[in-house]
Structure formats: structure tokens, C-alpha cells
Symmetry: D2
Subunit: 368 residues, 4 copies
């Protein structure tokens, strides 16, 4: 492509919630951040008609129902993997082996063994970038919080309390699905939600040294076309967490919390101040430094990281899909030789070891 501006060839696996979200991010990242332009090359869905329709809508040049052909396509430089968790390992391994960079939705896999295998595979392809879809880490408010903590603005972190609650399984009439099995779904609330909370806690406080967890399934059976079936993974999980730094915290996550939609919420208390955040109001960060009269509401604006590329006006509102554009920018930067903004597979494994430890703790301390 001499004479042409450099571009990056993109393949996409999956066209659902996250598939569309990746597609939109690929479309906007260059205009938003002035990065190299992605070329939307090839998209796969198990249903070829769905694939064709999605390719047309999302602006991909070609469509297929054979994901193998995506990961080996010569025009593809990077593969977005947004399929169900059970498919993550084979797809990501194949992509790495074919020399592609990988953008993988979280969690890496349903089992720690599979996650470890992905780490090993990535380690044997050191020139290729891996990044995981921990979107919530990218919000300007969260980045601002992380920066404040890193710069010591709240002193030494003492204690964090975090929850991530939704209500997508709160209705007992919701039918049984494979997501509620250990074999195919893996963990329940911990895998869907809890890993996001862990990712934020670790980004703020560093590595974890110990967890003591407990889990609970409040709706133990659900209806399927074949009759009532057991729910095999947890609806709710809680834990105490100790960090290497000496800080500690409480952790809880639920997928059956009536009224909670995206309550990824925490409060971090340090020796010189407190920060509080709730993703349901993702444009607000609440900060109280030592000696101040109370908590101050920081509305997201161009003074927070990455906001200005979207909008120069404070308070106008950053959205969920914008997070993914930042993630795409981070990925492109890493591909082009910049630092990996993470989490890559190595960091992702650390997060997943924590949620699996919580799941298997049954009230006993597990060292990490």
C-alpha cells in the first residue's frame, strides 16, 4: 500500500450487543482521535444472512459464517471477538496463531484453564497486542479517579467498598438459558458483572493478595422448553478483599437486584480524601479531600482524560458507546508501538483468578 496512508484491517466475530458496539467504535476511532483509519474488512456470524445484513449495516466489506476465515484473512490485522464466552479461547488462539492482534470481550473464558491457555498463547506471540473489553475502565470520570489516586490526591488508600448490581435475572419468569450452566456459562454474576468491579478495584488499588468470598443462587430453577432446570451458577456473590498495599475492601455483585441497571458503584477512602463513583451516573465523580466541607460533584468535561476528543463542552454527557471508542484508540496505540493501556491477557487472568477465587471460597480465605 505504498503511497496510501496506513490503515488497519479489522475482522469482527459476533454481531450482537458487543459486536455492534465494536463496529461503532471502529467506525469512529479515527475521526474522534485522529488515529490510523481502520478498514472494516470481514465480519462473521453463525447465520450467514445475519452476517450479510450486519456487514452491510456496519460498513464491513465482506461477510461470512466461517469464523476461521476471518482470523486467517490476509487483509485482517486485528480481530474483535464478541462471541459467547465458550468460544473465546479457540477464536483468540486461532487469531494469535494467524498473527493477528486480538480485542477480546471479557471474561477471557469460562474456566481458568482456558484463560491460562490464552495467556500462554499470547506469550508465545509477543509482537501481537491483546486487549480485553473492560469498557468501564475507560470512562473519563473513572480515569480521572484513577489519576487522582495515582497522584496521591487522597493519600494512602485505606478502604474500598464496591458493588456491581443489575437486575437482568431478577424476574423469576426469565427462562433458563445456557448462561446459567457452569459448563457453558461459567460463573454467573461474577463473570458478567463482578469482573468489571474487580478490574476497577485493581486499577485503583493494585494487586490483590487474598479474598474471602461467598456466593448465593436465589432463583435455583428456571423454566426451559424441556421443563424446569437448575441454575448452576451464582446470582449473588460477596467478598472481603485484601490488597498487597495493605488496603482492604468489601465487594458484592448481583444479577437479581431489582431496580439496579448498571450500578457499578464504589467508594474509596484514603488518608487524605474520599472518592465515590456510580456508573449509573457515569458523568459524575464525587470527591472530598481532607479539610473540605463535603463532597464535590465533578461533572465530566474536557478536564478529564479523553473527554475533549468527543466534545469540548463540560456536562454535556459522555455515553457508554464512547467508552469503546477509547478502548479502540488504546488498542491502536499499542499496535503502533505505544504502551498497552490494558488489561491485556496477563492482567485479565489476574482479574479472573480473583472472581474464581471468590466463587470457590465458601467463606475461607484464598491467597492469590
Amino acid at each position: 500500500m505504498s503511497g496510501q496512508p496506513k490503515t488497519i484491517g479489522v475482522g469482527l466475530l459476533g454481531t450482537g450487543f458487543m459486536g455492534k458496539c465494536h463496529a461503532l467504535a471502529w467506525q469512529q476511532v479515527a475521526a474522534t482521535f485522529g488515529t490510523t483509519h481502520p478498514r472494516l474488512e470481514l465480519l462473521a456470524d453463525v447465520d450467514v444472512e445475519v452476517a450479510k445484513h450486519a456487514a452491510q449495516q456496519f460498513g464491513f466489506s465482506r461477510a461470512t459464517d466461517d469464523w476461521h476465515s476471518v482470523v486467517t484473512d490476509p487483509a485482517v490485522d486485528v480481530v474483535s471477538i464478541t462471541t459467547p464466552n465458550g468460544l473465546h479461547r479457540p477464536m483468540a488462539e486461532a487469531a494469535l496463531k494467524a498473527g493477528k492482534h486480538v480485542w477480546l470481550e471479557k471474561p477471557m473464558s469460562s474456566t481458568l484453564d482456558d484463560a491460562q491457555a490464552l495467556v500462554d498463547c499470547a506469550a508465545s506471540h509477543p509482537g501481537q497486542v491483546t486487549i480485553l473489553g473492560y469498557s468501564f475502565l475507560r470512562s473519563p470520570a473513572f480515569q480521572a479517579a484513577r489519576k487522582m489516586v495515582a497522584q496521591g490526591e487522597i493519600g494512602t488508600p485505606v478502604c474500598i467498598r464496591g458493588v456491581y448490581d443489575e437486575d437482568y435475572c431478577a424476574n423469576p419468569e426469565l427462562p433458563w438459558s445456557w448462561r446459567m450452566t457452569r459448563a457453558q456459562g461459567g460463573l454467573g454474576a461474577l463473570g458478567d458483572l463482578g469482573c468489571h468491579l474487580v478490574s476497577q478495584m485493581c486499577a485503583l488499588l493494585g494487586p490483590v493478595t487474598e479474598v474471602i468470598g461467598q456466593t448465593h443462587t436465589s432463583i435455583t430453577t428456571r423454566q426451559s422448553p424441556d421443563g424446569s432446570k437448575p441454575v448452576e451458577n451464582e446470582d449473588v456473590a460477596s467478598a472481603m478483599i485484601r490488597f498487597v498495599s495493605g488496603a482492604h475492601g468489601t465487594f458484592s455483585t448481583s444479577r437479581v437486584a431489582h431496580g439496579r441497571k448498571c450500578r457499578l458503584q464504589w467508594e474509596l477512602q484514603g488518608t487524605d480524601g474520599t472518592i465515590a463513583f456510580d456508573h449509573e451516573n457515569m458523568n459524575e465523580l464525587w470527591v472530598c479531600r481532607a479539610g473540605e466541607a463535603g463532597f464535590t460533584r465533578h461533572l465530566s468535561g474536557p478536564d478529564q482524560p479523553d473527554f475533549a476528543a468527543f466534545c469540548p463542552a463540560p456536562g454535556h454527557g459522555f455515553g457508554f458507546n464512547d467508552l469503546k471508542v477509547i478502548e479502540a484508540r488504546d488498542l491502536i496505540r499499542a499496535i503502533e508501538g505505544g504502551a498497552n493501556a490494558g488489561p491485556d491477557f496477563v492482567e485479565g487472568l489476574e482479574i479472573e483468578r480473583i472472581i474464581h477465587a471468590i466463587a470457590s471460597s465458601h467463606g475461607h480465605a484464598i491467597s492469590l
Copy 2:
């Protein structure tokens, strides 16, 4: 282009805050909503180097410093106009006369005469669509509110109280600019902010019959390189408003409100319920119907209009730039023969007549 899928050719005038916002919307609208794909053809900026750079970043094929060439370009079907207010009339007139559809940022113009001229011009080109950039009307929460009111869920509207406050001129050290002149800037807070509040009030309550307004300039001079110069337009404006329906309301807007960033906030009280909204938390709508215990927080989600096209998960957060994607969809729909979701130039003139009446009222009632 026989054999090719239909597309729409786009020209863009201006590459600042709103120019980038339009560009991003044009890039996403097809992927988000499955509309006809826009072709980003030609972009103009007064500085040709800026134009070239923006075209490269935003994904436009060509760049120019001659806006006339954009509005007459044969590959361009629709022109996005995001330049300073004083340029709106000549650019929009030229585009209409060249047979283009027009997407114009608000307000239509600095003067009512110019706005009227634009209405007249549009009337003589009835096959061409005009739409104004009243982004805030597009938020799922606002659309949901509007629908509730239209369906009578809060009964007959009785009273509305609204404000739109920002603090972008609150610092007296902010230098003088042409925006603070009547000739070039037109109105002050009313033109920048107040028209948005009027657009929401009218969308909820229908046409206005009378206003009684007052204005105030709290920082009367500002520094320019040529020394201190007068601020000619208002920092603050307030009004009482009467609607044809019999409802009434209070209205206030300020560009010097310390701490307010995008507080487009109102409360509408009806005979059977109350709705409250504040764009600084644009994903929350507060509703209390007759007999209910109190206000309920409705977090934006796929149950609100247009949300699901962006994200199937409630509470994850709609953002400001997403509003413009909806606006682009509304425009394409109208171009392709659907109803105009408005405001078009005719409705825009009604809005501007109201803010100009407030500006010239000096405490006397003005009929509309």
C-alpha cells in the same frame, strides 16, 4: 450508480465543536440505525490546512477553503452547516438554491429578518429537507417525557418551570469576543442556550401565545487586544411564558452561572402527574403520577425511544454525541420521504421569535 446500494452525499461546513459532532454522526448513523449510508464527500474550513487535516481525520474524501464549492458540488446531496451564526443565512440559502438538503445548527441566524429569509427560501424549495440542530430534543429521556405528555399520562399540563444554565462566560477574565456583539453574535445566553429550552418547552406544551421577559448583562465589559470593550448582549434572561393551551411557565437562562455546565432543567406539572428532567443527568427522568408515593427515577434504557439502537442494556449511559446520530437518522428519514421530526426552518423561526421577544420585552407582555 446503478447496481450500487443507494447512498447520500454529504458536505460539511465548519470543523469545530459542531463540525466534528456532525462528522461523527454521519459516520455512525447507518451502522446504528440501518439507514442509507452517507458518503462523506467534501468538507470546508476557512483555513485550507485545517480543512485538509479535518477531512483526513473525519473520513471526508475532499477538502476546500471555499464553502461555495461545497454547496454546489454535484456529489453532495445534503449540507451540514456548523459555522458561526452570521454565516448561516448565506450558506443555507446557497445550499437550498443549489438543490441541497440542509442540516443547520441553531440558532438559524442572529436576526429574525435573516431567519425569516431562510424560511422563505426553504418554502420556495419544498422538495428539500431542512432540519435544525436542536440535539437535546433527541435524547431518549426527553423523547420519553414528550411521549408521556402527548399520551396524557400526566393529564393536562398546568405549569412548567425551566432553566438552561452554563458557566462558560462566568469568569470575568474571559476575553471579549465577537460573540458578545449584537451585530455578529446576535443574542447572548438566549441564542446559545435559551433557544434549546424553548425548543423543549414547545415540544412538550405546544405553541406560545405570550412572553414577558427581562434580560441582564452582569459583566458589562471585557478585555480585548484593543482594550476594554462592551458586552452588547445578555448574560442572563428570564421570562414568564403563556402557552396557547392555557398552561404557563417560568423560563430563565444564564451563561454566567458558576458551577452549571449543561443544566437544561425543567419540571412540568400536570393535573395527573409531574415530570422532571435535567440534562446534566441526561439518563434520568423523574416521574410522579397522581397517587404515587413520590418521584420514580427512570434510567434511560431500551424502553425509551431510540435507545436500543445504541445499546440493549438499560442504565449503561446515553451520551451527547449519540443525540446527533438520532438527528442524522431523522434527517435521512425525512429526505427519503418520511415525516420531518423537526424542528425544520418553520418551527425554528417560531423558537427564535420567542427568544427575540424575550430579549426585547423589557418587562412588557409581547404576543406571539
Copy 3:
């Protein structure tokens, strides 16, 4: 009573909502603030059995159904008047003429003539204290706000927007009562609620020079045992207000606002900062000074006026009945020669002139 500590003899007229509130305040004021101890001497209610029961419960020594005997009782030094508005004038005049101090619930009267007569009567008894029951002025948060404004912490006030909404008349099934007549009830929402908002606006911004108001009755008839009867006073009233200082504001009050219970809410914007308050969260004051990142939540605590006498611990919660204890302390201070914390009858008349002007404005400016 030589040799005895000084005490103050109290008479109480009325035993309803405000009667009980006064009684509780009289009981606590000495223990709370270390004032002279009140003696609860004599209480009157139109129903002698109610009076006897209330006297026993409230700790008054004697009861009567003859209010005249209270205002002339030699053991009574000060009379609390908490009866319906129509009785305020005769009772307060009689008390003043009998040499008593008067604590009168707001508004002073249903008509301006009666209010003026009370001012005249008070003027001819200059040694006797009058104080009106504008309880909301006494909250530590409001006092703190007033002090901030007086000390110039937000610079020169520019603009205020205020509402006071409740929903006690929102239900159309609520039967007709004398409160809905002009003759006996006087004003509607303005008299019950609006005068409180005016009292706060004037306390913050000083005297008013002009109002332009409008009123609306949204439920025009209500059922009585004698059939449907007209509602003669306003459900909703709005206004623009100009202050002598040059500041201006919007004002609105409703007694039919579904979901609002005690929303006495305002935002005051000055050249150096903004303050916001809502009595429904009466322990929160929101302040943003020029240059600060956003609004800071000041929870009521001992750093705010008068809080520490109730509780040394911040954030524990000040309540409505506590307001009246401060009012009783203010009254006792004035009786014992301190400054009158107001509003006395003279200031009260100013407030009532404003609400009557709003009521009779019909959209025309009225100078005050």
C-alpha cells in the same frame, strides 16, 4: 416572683398543626439554648374539651374556650397565635392592646388592609415584640446561605430562581373548604406557600422593587356537602421579581404539584458563586464558588448557625420542629432587649404586599 429565676408566661391560641409546634418549641427552648424558662400558662381552643385535653398533653396549666381571656391573662407575657388566618387580626390586636408580645403564624392576614392594621397597632405598642412564623428562615442551612451572601462569598447576586411546591390540593377529590374562598382563605398557594419563598428571597436579596405575576386555578370547582362550589383562589402562581439591588428572579408556587411535599427550592447565582437549596433535603446546602470544580454538598452541622445547640455531630439531621425552637429563642431574645431576628409585622407586611401584588398583577408590572 422575687428570688425566683425570671420566667416568661405563655398563652397559646389554637391547638392544631402549628399550635402543637409552638407548644413543643416553648417546651424545649430553655433546655436547648439556655434561655429564660417559659411558663406554659393558658391555652385556648374553640372546643373546650379539645382545649382541656391539649393543655394536659402540652403541659399548659390552664385551658379555655375563650381566647379573649388568654390575651388578657395577667400571667401571660406572650401570646402564640396559630388559628386560621381570618382570626389573626382581632387576636393579635387584642393581645397587643393588652400589653402582650405576639408570635403570629404567617400570613398576617387574608387581606392587606388587615395586615396594615396590624402594623399600625404594633407601631402604637413599640415596647412589645412581634414576630411571624416564617420557620423556614431559621434552618441552619438557610442561615448559612444567608450569611454567605451577606459576607459576599458569592459576590454580587445576579439572579434567583425559586419555587415552593406541595401537592396537598393536587387530588381533585379533595373536598371544598373555606380555605378556597377569598373572603375567609384569602390567597391560595401564594398565602400558604408563596409567602415563605418570598421571605427567603428577601432575606437573601433585600427589598423588591417590582413584580409581574400571573395566577392559575387548575381545579376550579370542588365538592362540598352542599354540592359543587367554586375555588376562588389560585392553585398556582408565577412571577418575575426585580430587587432594589438590581438582581432579578423567577418565582413560582403550586399547591397542586403531584409528588412535591415541601419543595421550597431556589438557586441564587452571584458574580462569584452559586448557592442552591431545597427544603425537602433541608440538611443540604449546595455551593459552588468561582473556580471550583463543581457544587459541594454542605451537610448541616455545628459549623452552621444554631445547629450545635441541638446536636454536636454533623450530618445527624436537623428537623422541622427544631426550626420553631430557634424561632422561640429569637422571640425571647427580642423580648429581653436583643435585636428582632424578624420578620416582625413591618417586614411581614412587605412580604404580603409582594404576594398580593403577584396575585393582582395579571401579567402587568406592579411597583412595590
Copy 4:
């Protein structure tokens, strides 16, 4: 006292924060609730001048510096004990042995042995009422929540997450005091704050079966006149809690949480709904029942238990001192033969066993 209405003689030990709070409650309880009237007989403080002054201010007939004379005074029927924790046991035992009812501030004692001794002593005086000062249980909003849970309105409780944070020790310059010793102060944040959170959790969810806790002291030494001294008890404590019912929860409390003043906050999730509460906004209860659009704000009003006795108007604001009036009413009811609204000493011991178990857990499960 034949021919006289029945009264209750009150003795008060301690005249600080809680001493004044008890005094105010005794003064208002009859007027508020129509109970038997208390006679404020005798008050003790270690400093006789302080005692005399307080007696005069609070309306007690007599003062002493000898607490023994209070608990044995024949005119005293009930003793309010508001002295430092180390004095609770001898004072309460002496009062019980002298035949008095006892109103004791929490916690019962610094050690579980002392608390057990108090339970034993109370058991041997079965006709005498004991009640502990768990004021926060009395708020109308909390009572309403408790009632909702008891009536099954949120189904079966699944999970609770609670914190109680203040910042009274957050400043490292705060000098050392005896409160920071194990011998005299006992527990730290758990004893001051955590026991309140446990009291609310148990009131909502019933008895606890197991805790796994951890504690942390973030400011390990403080200055005294004799130089730097160690802080012996915890600044922060966290735990997982399992309830007999099968529900579980997380628990955390801090006395060094910058910006938190009285954040006694929890969210209880059940199979049919969620309830959330924060005492810093003690007049708000947030409820979402299954199928509702989101959380509804219930402002305290006469529809909640005990509110109407203070004020018939919703939203006007219940305060901290009002809680103690309800507690006094509960005590009088129990003295006069009604059910004990609790917590009495037996229930209090259960609460204290839980906080001591958290303090000594060091990450190991402790059964209760």
C-alpha cells in the same frame, strides 16, 4: 400522689451530647405523644457546677456530683445513663438493684463480660425495663422499611450491603484520647458506629449466624500531652455476615472516612424488591418493587410510623433529636406494661457479640 395524674420520675447521668439529647426527649415526649408526663427530678455530672448549670437549663429540679444518689433517689423511677462506656456497667447495675428502669446509651459496655453481667443483672430484675439508645432504629423511614420487609413487600431478603462512616477521627492532628484505648474505649469504629449498623441489619433480617471480619487502624499513633501514644482500637472494620434466614451481606464501618458525617447507609435486596436508605438523608427511603420502572423516593411523612405525632405535613423534615422522643415513648410504653420495642439488654448483647466477633475474627469465620 393520689388525685394527681400519674407521672414518671427521671434521673439523668451525664450532661454531654447524649445527656442533653435525653433531657430534650424527656421534655417533649408527653406533649408529642400524649404519654404520662415525666418529672425531671435529679441530674448528675462529675463537676457539680456543670451539674447545677445543666439542671437549671434542662429543667431538672435538683443536681448532684454523686451518681449513686441519683440511682437510689426515691423520686426517681427511671435512670438515663449517658456517661462514657466504662461507667455503663456499674451505673446500670446500681440502678437495677435500686429498683429503677434503665435507659442506657449504646454500646452497653467496652467488654462482652460486662455486657453479659448487665444482661444477668437485668434478668434478676424482671419487672424493670431496660432499653438501649439505638436511636437510628426509630426514624420513620427506617421503621417504614422494617415494616415493608416484615410484611413481605420485597419478598425474601437475599442480600444486604451496609456501611456506617463518619470522619470524626479522619484528621491525624486529632489528639490521642482514652477512647482510643482498649481498656477504657473498648472497640473503635465498631463500638461507636458499627453497632448501629448491626442493629439495623438485625432489625431487618433477624439473627446472625456467622461473621468473617477484619479490622484496620490507619492512624496508628496520635499526640497526647505526654507525647505520641498508640491507637489501640480499629479505625475501620469490615465483615461478611450470614443470617439465620439464609441471607448474607457485607458490612463496613469507618471513623476516618473524609467527608462522611453520618452515613449509616444500606441497600437490602429481596426476591421481590429492593430498599435503600442513608441516614445523611434520613427523610428519604428509596424503594423499587419487582416490575417497577426504577427507585421511588419516599419522603418521610405521616404515612410512616410515628411521623404524624410530630408534624402532619409530609416532607417537612424529621430530625435526629426527634428520634430520641420516640425512644422515650417506647420506654414509657414498656414501663407501663406494653411490649418492649427494644433493643433491651438481651438484644443489645446480641448486637455487641457481633461487633466483638468482627473485631476478633482476623479473617476467620466466627459462629454466633
